[in-house]
């Protein structure tokens, strides 16, 4: 089947919406845009309350359909020096309502709701969270039980949850995704995505190659200079294999170098340019295009999982398709379905189009094979309705770059017990070590400082509860509030309770000492972080919150559109050193 463009030119240009969103539609297309417009985002706001509002700004501008702000605060004068979505007249009013009003002005197509309530009161009956597609929770939460309640509910109901801190020059956010969060449309870099299957050509491709390259030496200069490079490589591969005892294509770097030299000899140099562009392209593509099929780690992980190998009636579509592709991969000795895209190359228009059609036809036949496996599985499992063709097609096209993120619950710092790091100790220790080797301090201490902050708040809340009859109410719930009798700043102590003591690791088997925060240098780093956080006294800096709001919004967009690859799962930004760190916590 040959694809033809017979679409008549439209009589009018793009719609108003296409115009308005033009620059972003070039990134996530209409499907991504629809996902945003169908979403309802919940912001559980507290503290100075800027970072969450800034994140919302970056979500409303691109058209996230609906947002809700829960915030118990009333607008005070200091809000006016840090929050852009308030005005003088807002003073004394509900901050949820005021910020909602000014945010909504940004995009008339978006609807916003404001609820003047504390997070704790709002989630009293957690099923209220069912109304939302995604939750942004601003830390520190006052009470670890509330955080735990939200985290657990979100986990059980597969609602993505972002937990965010922004204090002074530092910020942090953790993303709690559902247990399984597959991304098919990862938008890999086009420069790395070519699978042209030159080492496994199929008959149609070889026939075309013979047609174009069969009489190479008798071709006119014009013809010779326009043979598409991949046909040249196929031809020289045959020549190479014929002269080798093992009949195998060039396998290592040295052989490929030799092969490049052979290709180069075929180029005509007695022309005005002193060479041929198509031959140059052929040489440049040898290292990249003559590799035996292999699969990415991301896809390997998908193939290896139980859900892929033994899908059930209730499995997500993703697993049914993954299962069929896995079978294809096994049957075809390591090949993945052909993506079917062809890079541009020096060629005559008609040859290029013919080649493009050969690739497209092969891709379609691979998809057909996979679809038929899927239909069999569906029948065996008695699944209905059948998976849509376009979903199968999208998976086949991007199979190599599919990512499966396994959501992990947030780590919750409680005043009553230390966090058990057993399962992550090794990875996090590794992170500290690697950073040291690279000569850049790890930003992990900032994450720990934020956990310490949470823990401090939890302690204060316990204290508060035990002193409900106290005539002196606790004024401030921020660190550095040293005036609270009996509550010394607990940050350094926290390190001792949360550091990487690893009871599960057998020290005898792994004699390498674990890097810990109780080494003198690590202690200094950590103390400096704590001091900078204390300096903030709970304040947000607008720039850091705006920046973090931008990062959070990027990640939210990726999660809502299921396009590009969201961060897995914790990010820290250091506004002093101007860099970010990412950890899998």
């Amino acid at each position: 089947m040959v694809e033809r463009t017979t679409t008549p030119p439209p009589l009018q240009g793009p719609t108003a919406k296409e115009k308005k969103y033009d620059r972003q539609l070039r990134l996530w297309a209409a499907s991504g845009q629809q996902a945003l417009e169908d979403s309802k985002v919940l912001l559980l706001n507290s503290g100075p309350g800027v970072v969450g509002v800034e994140a919302l700004k970056n979500l409303l501008l691109p058209g996230v359909g609906n947002f809700t702000i829960v915030d118990e605060a009333e607008v005070s004068e200091k809000d006016l020096g840090v929050n852009f979505f308030l005005e003088e007249e807002s003073l004394g009013n509900s901050r949820a309502e005021e910020t909602c009003k000014y945010l909504q002005e940004l995009n008339p197509e978006v609807t916003g709701n404001a609820i003047k309530k504390s997070t704790e009161a709002f989630v009293e009956i957690p099923s209220i969270l069912d109304h939302y597609t995604l939750i942004i929770l601003i830390g520190p939460t006052k009470d670890s039980n509330v955080l735990e309640k939200i985290s657990r509910y979100a986990q059980d109901h597969s609602i993505p949850l972002f937990y965010v801190h922004s204090v002074g020059f530092y910020s942090h956010f953790s993303v709690q995704l559902p247990d399984q969060f597959p991304v098919v449309d990862t938008h890999p870099d086009p420069a790395t995505t070519q699978d042209l299957r030159l080492l496994n050509p199929w008959p149609e491709l070889l026939i075309f190659m013979r047609e174009k390259v069969g009489n190479l030496i008798f071709q006119s200069d014009h013809e010779h200079g326009h043979v598409p490079w991949l046909l040249l490589l196929l031809h020289y591969l045959n020549v190479w294999k014929a002269t080798r005892r093992d009949g195998k294509p060039p396998k290592d770097y040295a052989e490929k170098k030799e092969f490049i030299a052979q290709v180069a000899e075929g180029a005509r140099t007695n022309n005005p340019e002193g060479g041929e562009e198509n031959f140059d392209e052929a040489k440049a593509n040898v290292l990249k295009s003559l590799n035996p099929p292999s699969i990415s780690n991301g896809l390997r992980e998908v193939f290896d999982s139980e859900d892929c190998q033994n899908p059930t009636k209730d499995s997500a579509n993703f697993w049914i398709i993954a299962n069929a592709i896995h079978k294809f991969h096994t049957k075809n000795k390591g090949l993945l379905p052909l993506p079917g895209t062809l890079p541009d190359m020096k060629a005559q228009s008609s040859d290029y189009i013919k080649l493009q059609n050969i690739y497209k036809a092969k891709a379609r036949s691979d998809i057909a094979e996979i679809t038929s496996t899927i239909r069999q599985t569906e029948e065996t499992l008695n699944r209905n309705p059948p998976i849509e063709e376009k979903e199968i097609e999208a998976f086949c096209k991007g199979a190599q770059y599919v990512k499966l993120i396994r959501g992990r619950p947030l780590r919750i710092a409680k005043s009553t017990e230390p966090i058990d790091w057993t399962d992550r100790a090794q990875a996090l220790s590794q992170e500290l070590e690697t950073s040291k080797m690279l000569g850049q301090e790890s930003l992990l201490p900032i994450y720990f400082a934020f956990l310490a902050l949470d823990r401090h708040h939890d302690e204060l809340s316990l204290l508060h509860q035990s002193r409900t009859n106290d005539p002196h109410p606790i004024k401030s719930l921020i660190p550095g509030a040293r005036d609270i009798s009996g509550a010394t700043l607990p940050l350094p102590n926290f390190v001792e309770s949360a550091h990487f003591y690893t009871p599960a690791v057998d020290v005898d088997k792994d004699p390498k000492p674990w890097p810990r925060f109780d080494t003198p240098e690590a202690q200094v780093t950590f103390e400096n972080v704590v001091k900078e956080i204390e300096r903030a006294d709970g304040a947000e800096l607008h720039n850091i919150s705006a920046l973090t709001g931008g990062m959070v919004a990027q990640e939210v967009i990726k999660v809502l559109t299921k396009q590009y690859v969201p961060v897995d799962n914790t990010c820290v930004f250091d506004g002093v050193a101007s860099r970010a760190g990412v950890f899998n916590i």
Binding site: P9, Q24, G81, Q348, K531
Partner: protein
């Protein structure tokens, strides 16, 4: 340490949060830093110039106003307008001056800040204008304007007068990626030193467009470059005019049909013709805030600032790379060495000029060339152009000797490159 009497003055109450950083040092603050009034005054009297009122520029204005700057000037340039990223405008504002709308909006939201808009080309202002600022923050789409301001600021540096050194903070985005950099003109790597990082996409050869199109973009470029000239000669193509884009789209579609090339769309036509870079609000927010965070640290000294480049990439997870970009000794703007350039002595001057346009570090549009002895080719004035035009068809070996230095300048960028021509054997 300056502690204000009786807590905080009523007028500064709204800056309570900010003052936590201005009234006390942190662990990484320079030990000689003086907190309190001096620092606060310094911040409030700093005059900052923001260039660009697009998506980045709007964010920058907002962020600077909420960082405690009080005297902000902003210059708009010709920039692609797009409401979804430019939150300082309402639909009712379309058609009004962008710089003025943005200024009025921020002044209303952040009381006490004065924003002075300037409508016009930044190139029309002279050194005296730029000398009044403490620093310049740039959020521009256009590489030309960036290169111009960079060269101007480097040229202004007078070693005798430390006030003449104006830090330049520059941000740029594309899709989920972006970068922010701090440039201390003449002291650290400048925009020109880093030009090859931002090389333009290679242009499609004209013969591909004319005879062997293969991609939808080739058909669009053909309509843009060849068909327009042929059918609407003399008419200026306005890429914001839907009639013009529709015309190009229809021409491109017809050509695509002729060659069986699938995929030409209206949106793609617009993208190719206007060279549209995908942009989203969140990336602008990240990069603008990063620039303003540095501006705030530079203006107050409350923490060390970026030395000197941060790259942000958000399409696959999050990745940042913060590093010190090296100054180039042969930078045509801030360096003083000639760059070696190997050339074929049999090449004509015209071919040589054409090849300069393709070089990543040069990207020149209308170069003028001088050897140590004489003018080789000059675009302006017309008399000199006529006089030097015959050189264009001469071989390089007829015009210069092996190893001779030549100066290449382009009025569009206020730059002059020095090349030492080495003849290939």
């Amino acid at each position: 340490m300056v502690i204000m009497a009786n807590g905080v003055e009523p007028s500064r109450k709204r800056w309570t949060y900010l003052d936590n950083f201005l009234n006390k040092p942190g662990p990484t603050t320079d030990p000689n830093w003086v907190p309190g009034e001096v620092t606060i005054n310094g911040l409030e009297t700093s005059k900052v110039l923001v260039i660009g009122a697009g998506g980045l520029g709007c964010e920058i204005l907002k962020n600077l106003a909420l960082s405690g700057f009080k005297d902000i000037h902003e210059a708009d340039t010709i920039d692609v307008s797009n409401l979804n990223r430019q939150f300082l405008f309402r639909e009712a504002d379309v058609g009004k001056s962008k710089a003025e709308c943005a200024a009025a909006f921020v002044e209303k939201r952040v009381k006490g800040v004065k924003i002075t808009p300037y409508n016009g080309k930044i190139q029309d202002k002279d050194e005296d204008y730029y000398l009044q600022f403490q620093m310049i923050v740039c959020g521009l789409d256009s590489i030309e304007a960036r290169r111009w301001i960079n060269a101007t600021l480097v040229g202004m540096v007078d070693m005798e007068n430390p006030e003449s050194l104006k830090p330049l903070i520059d941000g740029g985005t594309e899709g989920f990626k972006g970068q922010a950099r701090v440039i201390l003109p003449s002291m650290s790597s400048c925009i020109e030193c880093q030009l090859d990082l931002h090389a333009p996409r290679a242009a499609v050869p004209l013969c591909t467009l004319a005879t062997i199109p293969r991609q939808p973009a080739h058909c669009i470029e053909w309509a843009h470059i060849i068909a327009w000239e042929e059918h609407r000669k003399g008419e200026v193509l306005d890429t914001d005019d839907p009639e013009h884009i529709t015309w190009l789209y229809q021409k491109a579609s017809a050509r695509a049909q002729e060659f069986n090339i699938p995929g030409v769309t209206y949106s793609m036509t617009q993208g190719v013709v206007k060279n549209i870079i995908p942009a989203i609000a969140s990336t602008n927010a990240i990069i603008a805030a990063s620039c303003c965070n540095e501006a705030f640290k530079i203006a107050t000294g409350c923490n060390p600032w970026l030395n000197n480049y941060i790259q942000y990439s958000g399409d696959e997870g999050i990745f940042t790379y913060t590093f010190e970009m090296e100054q180039k000794e042969d930078c045509p703007v801030c360096g003083n060495l000639a760059r070696n350039l190997t050339v074929d002595p049999n090449m004509t001057l015209q071919d040589f000029i054409d090849s300069l346009g393709d070089r990543a570090e040069a990207q020149l549009k209308k170069p003028t060339l001088r050897s140590e002895e004489k003018s080789l080719y000059s675009q302006f004035p017309a008399s000199l152009r006529e006089q030097t035009a015959p050189n264009l068809s001469k071989k390089l070996s007829e015009l210069v000797v092996n190893g001779e230095e030549i100066a290449v300048s382009d009025p569009a960028f206020a730059i002059s490159f020095k090349y030492k021509l080495i003849f290939s054997s």
